[in-house]
Subunit: 224 residues, 2 copies
């Protein structure tokens, strides 16, 4: 970290990597994910358009890093809602879903980036790690209700898949403007809707005894 010299901008930025992440997010929010421009990002950060290449291999790598920040913030938002909710397992579970949707509504372009098909977070361990951490918030919420042993069976992962599908689908449809009946609501007024959805996804009793007798598969579980 280098202090800026008094006159003019210094040749060395000092912390360009962090500045680029910030600039890239601003660019993302303003231009949208498919009009995102690396040059525009560089201009925002006040450097030449080729400077980012020193910190990120290419534009995709930069966006991957932005997505990693997004997953980290998604986890924070979910945990934040949980902190505000009551201590019961059920309330904590619902709060995780509420946080998910809140994040989506507050960061629609980010969600698009994070879950777009073009992202291949297999080859970006940092991204995968942050995504995994966000995922675990939801998994834990389900686990506290069902009991952690459920993750030894496929059925437990079905519960997770249902909850995740529900909340993710809802979030995506809301931010793409396809959920007209909640569009006019303040977020707090949506809480009831989200709670309804979450309870449907993880019903108290139904479908518990279905016997699929599939081999427990840790490697094949759903994950971010």
């Amino acid at each position: 970290m280098v202090a800026a010299s008094k006159e003019g901008k210094p040749y060395h930025h000092g912390d360009l990597r962090a500045a680029l992440l910030t600039a890239a997010e601003a660019e993302l929010i303003e231009k949208g994910v498919d009009s995102f421009s690396l040059r525009g990002t560089a201009k925002r950060a006040g450097v030449s358009h080729a400077a980012p290449a020193h910190h990120f291999r290419d534009a995709t790598a930069l966006l991957d890093a932005v997505a990693a920040v997004g997953f980290s913030r998604l986890a924070d938002t979910m945990r934040g809602e949980q902190a505000l909710a009551g201590p019961g397992k059920s309330e904590q579970f619902v709060a995780a879903g509420v946080g998910y949707v809140r994040f989506a509504i507050d960061n629609p372009e980010m969600l698009e980036l994070m879950f777009g098909r073009s992202r291949t977070d297999g080859d970006h361990p940092d991204l995968a790690r942050h995504a995994e951490a966000a995922f675990s918030v939801l998994v834990n919420a389900v686990g506290h209700i069902r009991g952690r042993h459920v993750f030894k069976s496929e059925e437990g992962w079905r519960d997770v898949a249902a909850c995740w599908s529900m909340v993710h689908g809802y979030a995506q449809l809301v931010i793409s403007g396809r959920m007209g009946f909640v569009a006019t609501l303040e977020f707090d007024e949506q809480r009831g809707v989200i709670e309804d959805l979450m309870r449907r996804a993880l019903p108290d009793s139904a479908f518990r005894m279905r016997d699929d007798s599939a081999v427990p598969t840790q490697s094949g579980r759903p994950s971010f």
Copy 2:
């Protein structure tokens, strides 16, 4: 429609609009939604890169038209699954969801295009019409179970929102490779999973009596 002259290609294509739609879909499938190239599409169709401008205002308009085809095919796929399923309301409902997921798996790039945030189908009546038609397949399936009167209340739209969110979220997560535990399954083996999800979204009895007493709002209902 004009027959191609015997030698060389004729100056006038004959049905360039249709050819461009086909070429654009091939380009979409091959390059992906964010590497899609108008010039590449024109080359596929065997015309100059400026020719498409006569049939589609710009690249976005072309992709909107492709998305409209996609919605039409989505509706076909859902109805196709329903035709194969038993006649019961419940089976028909599940089949709609199965068709939705099948379409997504068979046309992942298309789904990305159709539901991406950048699509603004408000100003594209044709796209909106096809999307609406696909939507109605799902709505009707719910309506047959719940009774058509439910759409006079917000509760009915909640049922639709739940089913749609569930199936859409699942489809998106599957095609973006985030549902590991089904990735190795043949599609037919996924049917049980999808049926499970659909039944969770529209439980037989639960949550029916919740009294939200919201004003019936036809204009605010969820829609494609």
